[in-house]
Structures are given as C-alpha cells and as structure tokens.
Subunit: 243 residues, 2 copies
C-alpha cells in the first residue's frame, strides 16, 4: 500500500489568481515592461477581492517578476509562463566570510559541471567566442596588472552559455552580484585572483580538446585558488580587526 497521500488543496485562491494571470500574459503575449491590468479590474474579472489580487501580486513582486508603481500601475519585469519553476534562495548573512564561502562552494559545483558539459558540447563558434573572451581577459590582465574581474566574468559566462544549459548562467548570474561586491574589496589581499589566472587557459584547452574530465578538474583547481585567496583575506581581516 502506498502510504503517500498528498494533502488535497481546498483553498488556493492566490495561486489560482497567479495561474490565471500567467495565462492572460501568455495569451496577450505581454513582454517585460508592459503594463498589467489594474488590481481593481483583475479583482472584478476574476471575481475575487482586491485583497486577494494584491496578495498574489505581492508574491510575484517578491519573485521579481513584476514591479508595482503607485499611481501608475503594475508592470511586467520578466517573462512569465505557466510552467515556471520558482527557486527562491536566501543567504543568511551573505556579507560575512561564511556566506561568501558557501556561495563559492555552489559556484565550484556549477563551474566544474559547466566546464565538463562545455567540453562535450561546445561547437566551433562557441570555442571561438570563448577564446576571444579569454584573449581579452589575458590582455586586460597584463595591461592593468591583475585587475580583470569584469573580463574574467565574461569568460566564465561564455563557458556557461556554451554548456548548452541556460540554467547554469541563470543561477550563477543571480549570485554574481555577491561575488562582484567582494571582488571590489578583496579584504586587503593585493594580488587577489592572480593565482586563478593560469587556469582559465588550461580550462579552455581542455574544452577545446573535448576533454570533459580534464575541464572539470581544472575548474576545480581554479575555484580552489580563489577559495585560498578568500581564506587569506579572512585571516588578514581578523588580524587588523583585532579587538
């Protein structure tokens, strides 16, 4: 006997509202930036109270799908469809060392897999694009003595794109602001990121050679160096912050 009986749903008004609204958006082919019907109209049409409509819209606003402007209206902020999957992540204390370390572990996981997939799937055009970003990055590294975080990021993005799975880029992009914020203030480590530099080329070589396991291994090494720098930075900070 299967003892798994999912609880029945007797009330789910706001979910129903969102489903209807998603259907409306798809039917009308609304795109980001366009205006949704007003709350009052939605309430009337859907035969629910305006309060319920508001709770539903609050959900979407929290997910960043929609933006509400008082006196003006509610506007679509991202593409919505009926088969969306929501995955809200909250990082407790994303500012401190621990939080950063945790996001870095996620990044290591995704980076390794993306590199491996990329080595399997990247076509010629993808390879050329990745190498172009790599060249730009290496030049910036030489010219500006190591300050190449922007170009570095673009290289990794190119790898994610060539992985053939858009989820990698989506997830990492959402985390990027975190990394970026940190990159700007490297905790007093002057040569932050230097150690990771050579691995970009080795990763690319493995990808170009269609060697997934090699690419995975090199990506792991790259993140390991970043992790190392991060730990050094934390140690520095502790030293100077001594009470």
């Amino acid at each position: 006997m299967t003892d798994f009986l999912p609880p029945i749903q007797t009330t789910a008004r706001d979910d129903a509202v969102l489903k209807a609204l998603a259907g409306f958006v798809m039917q009308e082919k609304l795109e980001p930036g366009e205006k949704l019907p007003t709350e009052r109209i939605l309430a009337e049409r859907l035969k629910v109270s305006r309060n319920t409509v508001r709770e539903a819209l609050t959900r979407w606003e929290g997910l960043g799908l929609v933006e509400r402007r008082q006196g003006s209206g509610t506007y679509l902020k991202a593409a919505v469809s009926l088969d969306m999957l929501h995955m809200p992540l909250t990082l407790a204390g994303g500012n401190d060392f621990t939080g950063l370390m945790r996001t870095l572990e996620i990044r290591r996981a995704l980076e390794a897999e993306a590199a491996a997939l990329c080595a399997i799937r990247a076509g010629k055009a993808d390879l050329a694009e990745i190498e172009r970003k790599l060249d730009i990055m290496e030049e910036a590294f030489q010219t500006r003595a190591g300050m190449s975080s922007e170009e570095d990021w673009e290289f990794h993005q190119a790898v994610y794109r060539a992985s053939g799975n858009p989820l990698f880029e989506q997830i990492i992009s959402a985390m990027h602001e975190l990394f970026h914020r940190f990159w700007e203030h490297p905790l007093g480590v002057r040569d932050f990121g230097h150690a990771s530099f050579p691995y970009h080329r080795t990763i690319f070589n493995c990808i170009a050679a269609h060697d997934p396991e090699g690419a995975r291994a090199e990506a792991l090494k790259l993140i390991a160096t970043v992790e190392n720098d991060l730990k050094r930075g934390a140690a520095n900070l502790k030293l100077s912050d001594r009470k």
Copy 2:
C-alpha cells in the same frame, strides 16, 4: 561629488514590518519550526493593519522563510536574520524532457560537490543519520520492489545537510518537485531508478571513509544512471506517442 542619492522611502510599511519581525526573531532566538506571533497580535503591536502584516508575511512565505497553516498559526521554516540576501530564481519551462534533463545536470553538479564536501566535514552524528536513512531506503527497496523514491530523497537530503552548506539543500529542494513529479510517471520504464540503487551505498562508504574525490565520482555515476533511465524513458515515450 557623489551623484548617488537614494530616493527617500516615504512608504515601505511591509518592509518595515519584515525588518521588525526579523529583529524579533533574532531577539527571541526563534528557530525553524517555532511559531511566530499571530497576525492579529503583530498588527496590534506594530500599529499597522492586519492586511499590511499579511502582505509582509506573504512575501516571506513566497521566499520559503515561513509557513502558514490556517487555524494553527505561522511557523518559521528557515533561519532568518537582518542581513539576509534574497535571490529568487524563476526558471521557465521545466516540464518537458529537455527541461528535466537540464535540471538533472544541475543536480549532478550539486550532488557531486555536496557528496565531496560531506566526505570532508561529516561528523559522527551526521554519518549515523545518513546511514540510518540509507538502511531505511534499502529496506524499502527490498520490501516494495524498487519503489523507494521517498526514502531515496531523504537519503540525499541527509547528505546535503551534512555538507555544512544549507544552500545545497535549498537549491535542490526547490527542484525536487520536478523530479518527484517525474518519479511518479517513469515514462513506462518499469525498473526506473533500480540502476542507481547500489551507488547510494558506495557514496556512503566514501563519505564514511572521508574520501571526497571518491564520493564525488560515485555521485557522478549515480546521476549518470538516472540520466540513462531518463533517456530510455524518453525513447519509449516517443515510440508510443508516434503520430
């Protein structure tokens, strides 16, 4: 001159409510599972309308921080603090074969890394818990001839928890409903998941032996078998769905 003057906030009632509530949770040291004050009490104490409190709680519910049970109360679902960082992801299109395959690739990335971290960090209590889940799963597998998806999931969750990084569980949990939906309808593959069965034990052995690379490799193998089953299922489906 700094031309960045953030616009003043004349209305941000619900945000203020959430901030106050986060402060309350921290002060009272409430932990996941514990009950929050009722909406009516919050409204009275914070001198705002109950509707405003509800919109604020709707936000938190959408972020998975809190769970509301009608007739019972509102319960904390995750640790909250004042310096949380929210990162809501919405993935379009996760229902078809391609979407499933893509989420599986993400899962492979996270599963491998979580297993490796777990091998490094798991303490005795963690190991005991994981082995307990493993035993339960193996017994269910024998008893119910392979139908052990629930117990299987609990095993993996235990691994994620012992990884020391709550992000793994958060991300995967958000994806779980997708896998689960699929597990129920294995596309006509009768022995779906059977091939992955032995790897649970091998993963555990590597973790217990504190062998991160071994754990990573076994996890990769496990997902590879699932991927295989999935492809077989898709082939079946195509055959029977022939137009």
